[in-house]
Symmetry: C3
């Protein structure tokens, strides 16, 4: 009971039910929880955990050994609109995709939202419920809305 | 693999899998993403995008050409309770539904929560991860928790 | 169209479609909404409403007559990681589960995230979109990120 179309999967990938994955790469031994959507072009490394209710969009690259909590929303568009200036449904020509990179060993807490175009550093920790609006350096803990380094 | 009961749909509506829609109106050319629930009585206009993981409750009216991001939660009850004062499961007689109106061309960023009883203005923009607690004027950008106009 | 494995259910429990429940207890007359996951070991009391898109993890005990809004994320691990220090997928031996207790009659607003190891008091109210980082006393209203008592 899952949708899995044009997905390039490594070995021992576990994909739970009620998931919608298409056109993405998933590395060895990675687990994809229930109610997760991963869009075309997203790349997820090896030995990651992508927890339930999360959304990984096009333009997101997640390196190896990354933890993504539950209900984490990635974004790739700074100015999302339903329609373009002509009143037609916005298509690929109407927006600029902004890429996001989550580096090796990072941990993104549940309920977090990640604004587009950011780099989340190696072994960094994003506290649960954060809204990440800026790059996060390696080995750094941030949290809050907007997410900041603990001071 | 979707639930769609008593839904009045316009032309060219696209409804993705794992959705739960009942008793609602959906306008022409609108797209409803994966893991979306739309409750009885909700009205969604034409040429809208309702992104994955979002919840549109009873009492919400969304005009044409509105973008709703991923994981957006609408609400309609200021004091939600499981049971009434008699210890019985709360029913329709135990609460006041507060209506929400999202006006034409608005864009609500992913991971936002919208408190009940609000009007979100025409062509307004709600930044990702916001908690909207007050009306939003037309052509206005707000963000944060609580969402405020950029100062 | 639901997954329900090793669940101990009371009388008149209502479980909606696209749910993933396993190894948990659910009390009499409780309703479990669409897109909800309840993990092994979680305990939910009688006459509760667990609204759509919410995640109830292992280690969470919810007493009777509790309202859980839509898109509420519980957590049970203060330092979630995908892999342990040996680079292997983290298992039960690699983390300490922190328990959460939600006491009778509490109401947790939609879009909230609950950090691990907390007690949410009797008849307390968590405003929508909150991030709860500390215990909440009985009969207390908190909201915001981090959630605080209204001052």
């Amino acid at each position: 009971m899952k949708n899995c179309k044009d997905v390039i999967c490594g070995k021992n990938v576990q994909i739970y039910d009620f998931t919608n994955l298409y056109g993405c790469h998933i590395g060895d031994d990675t687990k994809i929880g229930t109610f997760v959507e991963v869009q075309r072009g997203a790349v997820i490394g090896a030995r990651c955990k992508i927890s339930s209710h999360s959304f990984i969009c096009e333009g997101v690259t997640i390196e190896d050994e990354v933890f993504i909590g539950h209900g984490v929303m990635f974004t790739n568009d700074k100015h999302p609109q339903s329609c373009n200036s002509k009143g037609l449904l916005a298509g690929v020509e109407d927006w600029t995709m902004m890429k996001t990179l989550v580096k090796r060993g990072a941990s993104i807490g549940s309920g977090s939202t990640i604004l587009p175009g950011l780099t989340i550093g190696e072994n960094s920790v994003i506290g649960a419920g954060s809204v990440v609006t800026k790059d996060v350096l390696n080995n750094t803990v941030v949290f809050g809305n907007p997410a900041k380094v603990k001071s």
